[in-house]
Symmetry: D2
Subunit: 296 residues, 4 copies
């Protein structure tokens, strides 16, 4: 049976790991802070002392951590995933990081003799729990097929996006579109409110048109409720738009609207909403326009 | 029985007028050029010599023409709708025009003794034919209720957005969001293509995510096919974003992302794509980035 | 001797008219409100009852009023400049208005038998008093040369920019650049302050570099002093950027950065700074970033 | 006598090093490729085998290289500046790199026992030859004063901008403003050309107004001549705007206009103008608008 190592038991990682456990994989987990490992230990899941030990034991090592620095640290320095890698190891990098960071990680793993797939996921905590994240896999077809049963335990669908790095590019594509759409929706709502329209009526109209989609439905609702509890926080959306713009600069795709969206999220961070849900991008816009989209 | 006058038998207006005819209203039509009136005459529908005569005959006068100047011309000058207005006339202005233009038209009609509803519609030719346009009505509740059976013949749903002018504001809200979303989708696709992603795979991912919506589904398809036959042309989207930004300036809602989107549509016009579908906003972006989203 | 009519005795117009008087022209003035005419009457300058009477008396009619609507009202309706125009009249339109508005005014004057020059001026109250405004003249060479002595009394230099309309386009060009530069300077200062730099040191560096110019020198000083008394108010700069973007849309010049600048001025208006100096564009940026560029 | 080490003999570095030599300092130089060292060797200047050896010999080590990676490589890895650093060494980092990169370099030097000043310079090759670069120094007052004679040999003025890192922030401030102003000037010229104005006339008007400055004077001239030989290339300006936006994101200063400017430079890169002068930012704008600012 395949032994799967899972590093990073955060809000996303924990339910993903549970899904691997439920699917019957021989699971070994690791988290930087031990409190997040506790429930797994209590349920009889193996807990590794270090990423290096985890890697030595596992056939496939999945990791989902906060950013590119955290991935680099996992692989190199004290954390030593690389020291544990051998020719039977496949590393599945699931964090949302930059393209250059992905390729650097892939090179390190490959040089250490292992195989590499980048497979960031699209979706929030709900889909993570339900196993319905969209898995965005980049890697050689054979390698992606080998790890597909593992990805299938966490994701539905799993989309093979191309060679190594293309999973990451697809994730940047998705979150670029998500960020642009969220900030555009916020601008539209503020325009409407400043013009005297009612949020509920605007929502009705959107839901009857060509832009009827889960994002506008859910964010319209939480904005109307004044509920900015984080599903996907402003800080993360800002990070992802920054990564996408970095990459766009490298590949020669000027993105003026995306650049404007990034600055809108930057404003939300500057006004103290970085930890709130991405829908909080509307808040500085409301302040400036002197309106509120919150329902009475 | 209510006599309905209908002015403007263009791509949208003609099917809307047919729906009024099908619904059994006593219909009288007018178009600036007679060729568009011909099929109605042949089907036994009354054709008026002038907007003034049409207005004299009708209880309710609907008009859907190209822009605010055309509406002003209809009401004043030679075309003389106003001369035909009396206390039993209700004018239903369905063209997409600016807020100030709407209010000016409303004032003229009201001063002439008539009643006024602004009821622009959201949707393209297909929904116009099917009677499933989204009707966005602004006016006093009593007046909107009086004309609702007429709107119902052309629209489903009919949304009462508020007092006079709010139908127009809602239309600007909808098309602002539409334009922003279209241009953002174009940026995302160009980013993806420049990064090595395949359009079909990007479409699959979008259709599995929080932005799954008719717009991205249909425009993704036509872009992949290189089909820019106009459903809603770049020129109209540019006009509507310009109107929205004018209005936003008046009500104090700064819209940096919408402003960027307008310039993207301006680029498409400058490159000769003004008469093509709004999805052609992608074409100058592709030229600059040196990529194509068209499927092989 | 040439009789010069001057309409519009505002902050700019009054000193311009005094300069005409000082230059020895036979002057007749008009202002919508009589209080602004009083000092001229007291100094023995003729005051006309109406624009129509002024035009009948004058060989050359200069006007500088608030916007395109005010110009249209002067020419048509009750104010009747056009009724006073004959084949010996030259109208010199000096207000900053849109290109389409300029051409419409030119057409009206020409149809009434008169000659037309558009000659908006660049500069603020100081240069208006000193007669050192930059005069931006559009019209046939012969006509511009005929009125040049009059312009020379108010301006130095007078630049002939091309045929009718090009004075207006040049004014839009100048104020587009001015607005963009002002908002960019504000962004740079806020960036610097947020990064821990001192305004006075930033000013020293700018004054030693390739961007050493009167605008940054003076606005840097007033910003450091927290002095936002209007030389050229935010509202006017916003209007001029809006006119430039309208015109840019017509001629097919997409201007993404100018579009962003317009929204920055829109934010300043929305936050109540519309009547303050254009440098107040920095204030919403400071609020968002939580910094102040004001010196202690 | 102070021994000065100078690393990086590129287009900027070489004349700066000659100025140190002319000022009578005991100079030792190093360049990654030996051809750039040759003229110095021929003139009797010491040439070091490696950055490490240079650092061992020198009291003050100046470096000006291409980017943050090059600086990191100089300090660490094979190049070994750090190995040569002792308590008598002061490193003066003059390259334009990011704030985080500067602070990382400062930490490394300080940990190795040395002292650190960041002193990027503003100006192009001409001022580098004339010794009139604007030196932007960040560091403790005592350390900056100690190296001021060295900076004075290359710069006039030398501006002490604050503690370590503030020289870098000031450089980002300057180049942010420069990039914004350049792209805004390009937009204005394209607007004017598309509106029928003549470049030479626009230049005359700018030179008579509040934005009369060396940048617009020189770039207006080279654009009119179609001369895009690089003084400061598009690629560098793009890099510096990217660094400034990164930093702005960290300190919470949303910069929508600067973000738009970055995308304009990105477009110039995408169209193959990355190695040309920053004024080439106008070229994709001209292509889109279908105009040319080049004089006949």
């Amino acid at each position: 049976m395949t032994t799967v190592g899972f590093i990073g038991l955060g809000a996303m990682g924990a339910p993903m790991a549970w899904n691997l456990d439920d699917a019957g994989f021989d699971l070994v987990v690791y988290n930087r802070t031990t409190d997040r490992e506790q429930p797994f230990a209590e349920a009889g899941v193996s807990v590794a002392d270090s990423p290096k030990h985890l890697t030595k034991r596992a056939d496939v090592v999945c990791c989902i951590v906060s950013d590119g620095d955290a991935v680099a640290e996992l692989l190199e320095r004290d954390l030593g995933v690389l020291e544990g890698v051998d020719q039977d190891t496949t590393v599945v990098q699931m964090s949302t990081i930059g393209y250059a960071e992905t390729m650097a990680a892939a090179d390190l793993v490959t040089e250490a003799g292992g195989r590499f797939v980048d497979a960031p996921v699209s979706g929030t905590v709900g889909p993570a729990e339900d196993g319905t994240l969209v898995g965005l896999a980049g890697g050689e077809t054979e390698v992606v097929e080998d790890v597909r049963p593992i990805l299938d335990a966490m994701c539905e669908p799993v989309v093979h996006c191309g060679e190594v790095g293309q999973g990451t590019n697809m994730k940047l594509f998705v979150n670029l579109l998500l960020g642009d759409a969220m900030a555009a929706f916020a601008e539209a709502l503020v325009f409407g409110r400043a013009s005297g329209l009612d949020v509920e009526t605007m929502r009705t109209v959107v839901s009857n048109g060509a832009l009827d989609c889960p994002l506008f439905d859910s964010k319209g609702g939480t904005i109307a409720d004044g509920d900015f509890a984080p599903r996907f926080p402003v800080d993360y959306q800002f990070k992802d738009l920054s990564l996408a713009l970095d990459r766009a600069g490298e590949v020669g795709a000027p993105l003026s609207q995306t650049a404007a969206a990034r600055e809108s999220f930057s404003a939300a961070r500057a006004r103290g909403h970085g930890g709130e849900d991405m829908a909080a991008v509307i808040q500085p816009m409301e302040e400036t326009a002197g309106v509120e989209a919150r329902e009475e």
